[in-house]
Symmetry: C2
Subunit: 385 residues, 2 copies
């Protein structure tokens, strides 16, 4: 069967109507909703065809039609093709100046939730590609060391190491030399367990201490793997806006899934995967298309963001299948843009401000410290209600 323009229009009308009401939509509604000026009978015929083609279904006999995943997919694709080309101007972020990336992420995700009235998620940026800049051991006591690792992008990780044997300042000094010469400049991915064990051998007389230190560093690396990826969510209560998700069985599963953020990592992975395969921009997972079984009644829209210095993460919107895809994608796109530019996207650098912005590695800290959020100013959640 062929998909002609009229069928297309009718399908669009059905979906759009269903997005608004959440109720199955009948032929009569469409007959007047569209500018096609067709009688309900004709529409019925077409709907019958569309059902046969798999774009819509009846929840039960003699009810209106609702879109299938396949129908949604077509709709989303058409949005991507048409509307998304003319990207609108970025609305500026209403993010208060904060000191911590963590707070910033929470605010972003909260803002997005209040803008869209959907549940939202964001993954903390992972910096697998970033290089080790500086390692320092300090002696806190005869058997206690402070280990600080600074990574490109000015990420700092610090641990305290308790030793079994005493250690003196001299040894600490030599260890510092060894660690910096061996490890700086390498990415966290480069510092694999193989390298670490070979370094342990080289360590000679202080093998034990080195071993402890390296184990700690290995912990740092391990802590940044996918399994431990930090994910923040917001607006979980929004699912109660949509009756089809709000019945207690489904809601419970969803809440549980959102709380157990580990499964959300699958969306981050999947998004990263797709992006690496050339698909770029906004990803849409409709129902079963997503990697998470318990979210098959939902659609998820995701995008990757890039803070620079290899710090990339994923931000997403989770809603019912009848979510307002267009708005969601628009909001997400804007948010992505804001994040991409946060720490000095090439065009967004402002030469004003006290900080030394020249060194690229500086950008993150400088921007954050000086509160030079791009376009801090107006920008309202659209359509609160």
């Amino acid at each position: 069967m062929e998909m002609d323009g009229r069928k297309r229009k009718i399908l669009d009308a059905i979906i759009r109507n269903y997005l608004e009401t959440g109720e199955p939509v009948g032929s009569r509604t469409i007959s007047r909703y569209t500018d096609l000026h067709l009688s309900s009978a004709t529409i019925r015929n077409e709907m019958s065809d569309l059902e046969e083609m798999g774009f819509i279904v009846q929840p039960h006999t003699s009810a209106g039609r609702i879109p299938t995943d396949k129908g949604y997919r077509l709709y989303v694709n058409s949005i991507v093709e048409t509307k998304m080309q003319k990207t609108e101007a970025m609305t500026s972020l209403m993010i208060y100046r904060t000191n911590r990336l963590e707070e910033m992420l929470k605010q972003v995700v909260r803002l997005l939730a209040s803008m869209t009235n959907y549940t939202t998620m964001i993954s903390a940026p992972s910096y697998r590609g970033s290089k080790v800049k500086f390692i320092q051991l300090s002696r806190l006591g005869p058997r206690q060391l402070l280990n600080v690792v600074v990574i490109e992008g000015n990420i700092v990780r610090s641990h305290i190491i308790d030793l079994v044997t005493d250690i003196d300042e001299e040894t600490v000094y030599r260890l510092n030399m060894l660690l910096n010469s061996k490890l700086s400049g390498l990415t966290l991915m480069d510092i694999n367990l193989g390298l670490i064990s070979s370094m342990k051998e080289e360590a000679g007389s202080h093998a034990e201490v080195v071993s402890d230190v390296l184990d700690t560093i290995a912990d740092v690396i391990r802590a940044e793997t996918d399994e431990k990826m930090q994910i923040y969510t917001s607006g979980a209560d929004n699912i109660f806006r949509y009756p089809e998700l709000a019945d207690s069985t489904k809601a419970r599963k969803l809440i549980s899934t959102l709380e157990e953020k580990s499964v959300l990592v699958d969306f981050v992975k999947e998004t990263r995967e797709r992006e690496s395969q050339g698909e770029t921009g906004i990803q849409v997972y409709i129902g079963d298309e997503g990697p998470v079984e318990d979210m098959k009644d939902c659609s998820v829209v995701t995008a990757s963001y890039d803070l620079g210095d290899g710090l990339t993460g994923t931000i997403g919107i989770i809603g019912p299948k009848r979510m307002d895809y267009e708005k969601a994608m628009r909001n997400l796109k804007e948010m992505k843009k804001s994040l991409d530019n946060l720490f000095g996207g090439a065009s967004a650098r402002e030469p004003t401000g006290p900080g030394d912005r020249d060194a690229p590695a500086n950008a993150g800290a400088a921007a954050g410290a000086n509160g030079a959020w791009p376009g801090a100013g107006s920008g309202k959640p659209e359509d609160g209600k």
Copy 2:
């Protein structure tokens, strides 16, 4: 009206039965449920009295009775008096050895949720009473410093500071001396803004640098105030086990409250408050008794834990009013004990090997990792716009 033993037994029976079923309980049920061997008619008379006294109510005429907050309160008090005296042996924590305090807290709260089938919360330990142990500035570049603050209990906070003017190693060294001599040994509460500003004056030629550094430290302190207190929750989906909380309006409010963890801080504060007033052990908030308006259909059971070194926090169980108070209090008490002993209750302090000591040390580091993100103000927050 007097509260005699029989009334007491009947009230107990009513409450216990209601805890199990969630349904209003009638006189006939009680007549057989108890070992009083009274007819339903007699029970009815007594129930009528109990209602007059305010311990139970009828949800509607000719329904059974359900406990009021006052009734619950009496019941809880009786548990405290009788059962809780013989504290049972602590069941050992099924917590995997983890490197990060954060992970540990999440596991605790998850474990407690799965044990009780209620929603649970835990506040990250605050260390307001802890002393500064060690401050270190390291020079990363001509205008960039790494600032590490170690606090008693091996909490580490590190920030990167971007300066407006260049700084040399010599100055960094002198600054280190100044900071350590002035600040170590003081608690975070002692280091108030007054002290900081007086130090700024003393700084002399490097006033600007000192100012930057001290501002950063001030930020660290500020970041540890109540408003920023970290709270973890788990088992939010458990509210759907209890129909009286699961209708979409209430559930939505609750989910929203749990997500917006900031209001949960009120429970932490309240618990701390009560403890400082001599009340000790387990706190129970029934309905309105708690500080949070949106949780008036819930009861909350809380306890403080103490990891040692002044690191104290609060752990709590959130459930319906008909929660199994006895079990909740028991579980909470055990969990509290486990936490109190975790990092070496007096007896457990022996250094039995590096493994044991790892936990506390790294726990601190984890907290440090959180604060490791750049963005502690570099001093001159001229707002970019």
